[in-house]
Structures are given as C-alpha cells and as structure tokens.
C-alpha cells in the first residue's frame, strides 16, 4: 500500500500534473479572494469564494483522475500489479488515496489567508468550514467517479472527457429537474443532485444525510472500480 502510494505520488509530482493542478487551484483561489474579499474590504464574501472554487474543483478533478487506471491499462503495467502478491482492494485503495488527497491539500493551503484575516475581522467560520467540508465530500465523490471512469478505458483523454461530462451533468442536474414535468423523474433527479446536497454545507449546516450521501457515492464507486479491475480476470 505504502509502496503504491509513493509510486502514485512520484508519478503526479515527477510530471507537471501535480504542480499545475495545485498551483492553478491556489492561483484561482487567490484571484477570487483578491477580487471578492480584499478589494471589497469584507470578509463576509469568503464563503462565496469557496463556493466558486467548487466549480473549479469539478473542472480539475478529471485531470487528476484520468491517468489512474487508464495509464496502467495502456502501458500494460496493470499486469504486473495484478500478478504481485497483493489484493485488488489494496491496488484500488492506493489509486484513490492520492487524487483524494489533492483537494484537501489545496483547500488547507487556501485557509492560510482566511486565518490571517481572522486576526483583523470575524469571518463567517461556520459557512467557511461548512463549504470546505462540502467541497471535500463532493470532491471525494467526484474523484471516485473519475477513477471508476478511468478504469473503464485505456485512453486518458476519454477518461478525462467522461469525468468532465459527469461533472457538468451533476452541476446542471438541478436546472434539468426543474424543467422536467414528470414528478417522479424530477424527484429522482433532485434526490441525486450533488448541488442540492452540497447547499446545506454552504449555509454552515452540518447535514448528516448529505454526509452519508457523499460518503455512500464514494464507497459505491470505489467498490465498482475494484469489481471492474477484478473483472479482467473473468472476461
């Protein structure tokens, strides 16, 4: 597990991907923070900055998940991993760890200016921390979906486009639900809407059902990925 995690870490940070992702996110955060908070001299806009960051996270997640399994399948290195004396579960969990740890690392970095600002004003901590937690949970679910899509194809481009498509769909699902006349379908779309599940966090509310929902989505797609990787043995 540790060896695989180290290998994943190297593959992200030996290539520009890791630096570009973290750097770009912090840059975008800085830009929003400067435009929304520093120029208006008001810490009350900080939660909105984090809400805007969610969209950017959704755009960046396809890039951090696209190579997870696609690259292994393309280079046939999965044949090595699956014939070493380690379980499929270990391989899959190690693949999930690093992409899942990039959003929290970035968000932790982004909290530094907020903490500094708290010495001079009173930021709305419940909303800020709620938004950060919501982003982390939403991000973890999206990372799981992205890695699952990556396990379906040997093309990194297709994996990235597929995850990107799902991200867009999930961001638009609320508007789709409101325009559908069939009540059952509208309710179903509303139920699976990530955005409406995320909303309580943005309001500073620790919504247990939303936490369970995001954690369940994460677990289901982790499980599906393990089954997909193992299915090679049964094809």
């Amino acid at each position: 597990m540790k060896a695989l995690y180290k290998k994943e870490m190297k593959s992200y940070f030996y290539s520009p991907i890791g630096y570009v992702v973290v750097g770009l996110m912090l840059f975008v955060f800085g830009l929003y923070f400067w435009l929304g908070v520093l120029r208006s001299y008001s810490s009350s806009y900080i939660p909105q900055v984090y809400q805007a960051m969610l969209i950017w996270f959704m755009m960046i997640i396809p890039i951090i998940t696209m190579k997870s399994f696609s690259e292994e399948i393309h280079n046939k290195t999965d044949q090595g991993l699956l014939t070493y004396p380690i379980g499929v579960g270990t391989v899959v969990m190690a693949k999930f760890d690093l992409p899942r740890s990039i959003p929290p690392t970035t968000l932790l970095g982004s909290l530094i200016p907020v903490v500094i600002m708290s010495f001079f004003s009173s930021p709305a901590w419940p909303q800020i921390l709620g938004t950060v937690l919501g982003t982390l949970l939403y991000g973890a679910a999206m990372v799981s979906i992205g890695i699952f899509i990556s396990s379906l194809t040997k093309s990194q481009i297709i994996a990235a486009m597929g995850t990107f498509g799902v991200s867009i769909l999930l961001l638009l699902i609320d508007s789709m639900a409101s325009s559908i006349q069939v009540t059952f379908l509208a309710n179903l779309l509303g139920w699976i809407s990530f955005t409406s599940r995320y909303q309580p966090f943005a309001n500073g509310i620790l919504n247990i059902s939303s936490i369970v929902f995001f954690l369940s989505v994460t677990a289901v797609f982790t499980f599906l990925t393990a089954r997909k990787v193992e299915s090679k043995r049964w094809s």
Binding site: K7, K10, K76, Q79, G80, Y84, P85
Partner: protein, 328 residues
Amino acid sequence: MIEVKDVSKRYGENVALSDINFSVGENTVVGFLGPNGAGKSTTMNIITGYISASGGSVNVGGYDTLDEPVKAKKLIGYMPEVPPLYQDMTVDEYLNFVYELKKVTLPKKKHLNEICAVTKTAEVRGRLIGHLSKGYRQRVGFAQALVGNPPVLILDEPTSGLDPKQIKEMRGLIKELGKNHTVILSSHILPEVQAVCDRIIIINKGSIVADGTPFELENGSLGAHTITVRIDGETAEVGKALKALNGVKSVRAAGEKEPGVYEYEVSQESGADVRRAVFSTAAAHGWPILAMSNGAMSLEDVFIKLTSASYAKSKELPQNAGEGGDEE
C-alpha cells in the same frame, strides 16, 4: 510445484484453451511451444492469476490460485510478454518498488545488487526506464520477476528483443536458474527451447499436442521414423536382408550414391531402433557400411507436423473411429 488440471478458457464463443492438463515438478525448465494464438500466454496468465480460467484449477506450491491467490502469487515471479515497466521510474526505483510491493524480507541492498548483477542491469540502475533500449527493458522485466527469489519463474518470451550475445547470456541464466527454480518459458525460437528446456509442451489451438523431453519428441513419438544407411553390396540381397530384420517396416533403395554403393531408407516401427541389427547383418554378409544416419525428426519438423492442420485432422480421425467402435 505447478499443477494445471482440466483448465479451459473461453472468450464468448471462442475457445482459447480446451481442458489442458499438465504438472511441473521442482527444479525443471519447461518450454511452451506453439504458433501465435495457440494459448501459451493465456496459460501463463492463468497460472499467474492475471486472468481466471473458465473451468478447471491451477495449484502452485500447494495453493489454489483462485482460493489463495496472494499465497500462490508469492511463489511466482512473472515476466509477461510486455514487461510491466513504469517509464517515469529509474531502474533502481522500479526494483525497490517491486521489492516493497512483494513484501520481500531478504536484505534489500544485497538482494537487489545480486539481481542487477545476474541480469546485467547494474550499469543502468540510475537511468529512467523510458530511456532504455528494448534489450535493457527486457532485462529489467526479467529482474523484477526475480525480486523476492520466488521458486517459480514464468517467462513469456524472455529473449524477445535481445541481441544474439544477450540471448546466449539469458539462456545460460535461465538454465542456471532452472537448477533450483521451476521455470516455465514460452518461445518461438525452437533451438532456444531445445537448448534450455528439460521438457517441452507443444500447444496448438488451445490443446496440448505433445509433452516430453526434446529427445522424446525428436525420436519416435510421432510414429515410425527412418534411418539412412549406405551399404556396399548386391542391392536385391541387401534389401531382402534388411527387410527381414525385426522392427523394420519397409526398405527403400534411394539410388546408387557411389559406384556399386546404394543408399537405403529403412523405415522402423514405432519405438524400434534397428541400427545395431543392420550393422550385425551387414557384417555377417561382408557388406561394408559406408555411412549410417539416424533419421530422427528435428524439433522443427516435429513442431511443424504437430501444429499443421492436416496433422490435427489426422489425430481426430482415429478418435472418431474409436468412438464409433464403442457404439457398436
């Protein structure tokens, strides 16, 4: 050490392996021979647990690869046809990665140094795998299979991409490893299999069509074979005397090769060796033998014969006839 029992593999309608059975003991080098698509790599992938069989079972060192995959895999070092190498790692990083992944308990530095020395990869340990030549990548692929010193080595075309000198070295290394490892290797190069392997299994269209030592395959396993003898003597009498020998199926005069000296092709019955009897008969009649050669089939001939469509068809006929007889 390895027991493959009634293993079959189907991809939809396509049958890749059809109920194959064989077992391999300790310290043996077994060569898999077969044309492309015969099922060699599929068999290797099933033994290593990369893919599952549609039916049957594989046991490695007492562990069923399906019930106890991790324990079985611990005993296997596998080098697939395309070595599973990470281009962005150096050779040293890669071998350390494999060492940790396999949870090897041997002293790390010493063990990896030994592997690099035997696979001759020590000089490229600091280089990125993506920058290595095909030959070096192949050797790094072989090195990763040796990490942990597993008792079973499964090598899918291990000399592919190597130059003649490297091929010779690799063959020597495999032969050396075969003294205290169970090695299964596949190859298209018949002299290689002949030079390295104690036993050869020929696979064709998903079935095992021959299994034996190189000597057994070359001599007599495919029915009668022929010896060629050049005798100085009266043709009709020589032919008659040779025909009368036990174990001789037929004699054919192949023409006058020297003045008054004829060559005869003596077809023997399965399992018979009439060379000594030919010598004694010729000596008793006072006919000098000027040349005699064993007409055993080369491994190449055996391979071509066993994997040809007409042979596969001819093998089916007696079976069908037998089934018909049973019904009667």
